[in-house]
Symmetry: C2
């Protein structure tokens, strides 16, 4: 299976251009599954809820679906690939920092960011959907978004639900995540694809955000299989064997999920 | 507060010498709290349960207490320090891979390894004690042993119970732990002291184990504050401010414990 990421440089508010730019990038690659950054179509730094609402789209049902998801589904059909991507979602009065997994037949996964980072708490509603696992053929994938990485419960929950590959659209500004994802992969023996963006946004006075790039793919033994550079757009496609994530043994006698002592853990 | 570790080279079965050697090492240091390796008095590679039973000691109550713990308490009084150390424990018919925290007034913490590594499953009973937190003055410390590190639930449980410093006696043979402990510290904003041993044991045909050293202290921001070398005995004492572990904010708006979405996690 060929999986990868696109590390993009979105321009705030230029939704149409950002979407077309990403699809152009995808069209140059041969892959079965690609991950795009968090909020890949809109950019990150919303001044207020109203601005986010204006750039947000409905994901829910076909008839109301916004242009970004419709276009991603079309591209998934044209390119015969699955695409995971983050975007601002509007659902009635609520706005979420969401991600979708789309394939040629439509939306197969939908997730709303559970752990909002810093100023996002002023813009978005907290995610209210369970962490779920979707099948792509025989392979099981699970979505999480950016700051979710800090909470080991997220990747653990996805692994317990059977995820072989964690799809991780991100807008990272802190340096910790790329160095920590090998641990998330190792402790759950899963693949993880973190797709980050690059560029700087200075839309709020005194809050200049530079996104660090360093998108990466980690494997079930905790190895970094590929890491993109800082500071510039990039892409990566790797051939992996997702079955490697089905062997949860770190030694012949130790299974990273079955060895858990849930009788002793505090939740 | 001055905390540290002793990275020792125990000789299998030479319990008395290993204990006195460690105490000699401690007596050269000025510290409030020191961590010794897992099974620091006995060595690691037991051929069978009978051999482990012969080297195991009771920890339980004063009257039955074995010589290692008695001697550690005596040393804690002489040196005016707290000492965390791992040792094989006998309790009736059961044998545990245990750790104690002792101070001048006796045993203040006792833990039995919950996650047994590889061949340990043939020797020891699974730990049956909760993860608990002990107070040293105003500072709260929690014990875990070696392979427990792989399971994020352990440090999380200790942090939820209020631990400021994780005391982590270890006998590491795999390279992953020292590189992963920064993540354990970061995700819980705690200090962690991993005390590993060095040396090679070849007591079981075809199972040569080399312990990697690299004992280390990590801080609440995920930084490695000190790492010992591979391959040789070493020690470290650092002055830390344990109050740094009380601030669980990774940003002003994000608290690593209160931001948890237990409504969405699978246990």
């Amino acid at each position: 299976m060929k999986i990868g990421f696109l590390q993009t440089r979105p321009v705030f508010g230029e939704t149409g251009k950002n979407v077309e730019g990403a699809i152009k990038g995808l069209s140059r690659l041969e892959a079965d599954l690609m991950v795009l950054p968090e909020l890949f179509n809109s950019g990150y730094q919303f001044r207020d809820k109203a601005e986010a609402r204006g750039l947000a789209e409905e994901i829910g049902e076909d008839i109301d679906r916004g242009p970004t998801v419709k276009r991603l589904i079309e591209a998934a059909g044209d390119l015969n690939m699955f695409i995971a991507a983050g975007l601002p979602e509007r659902d009635g009065k609520k706005i979420y920092n969401s991600a979708v997994l789309v394939g040629p037949n439509g939306v197969s996964g939908h997730y709303r960011k559970a752990h909002l980072f810093a100023g996002e708490k002023k813009i978005f509603n907290k995610g209210d959907m369970p962490f779920t696992v979707q099948k792509i053929g025989k392979v099981r994938v699970g979505l999480m978004i950016c700051f979710d990485w800090l909470f080991p419960e997220v990747t653990r929950t996805l692994a317990l639900k059977g995820a072989d590959i964690i799809l991780h659209p991100s807008n990272l500004v802190l340096p910790n995540c790329p160095d920590s994802m090998p641990v998330r992969s190792l402790e759950n023996r899963v693949f993880a694809v973190t797709a980050n963006r690059v560029g700087t946004e200075e839309r709020i006075a005194g809050e200049s955000l530079t996104f660090i790039g360093k998108s990466q793919i980690t494997g079930p033994t905790g190895r970094i299989l590929h890491r993109a550079p800082r500071g510039r757009a990039a892409s990566c496609v790797l051939e992996i064997d997702p079955r490697a994530a089905r062997d949860k043994h770190i030694t012949p006698a130790n299974h990273v999920l079955k060895d858990r002592r849930t009788d002793l853990y505090e939740n």
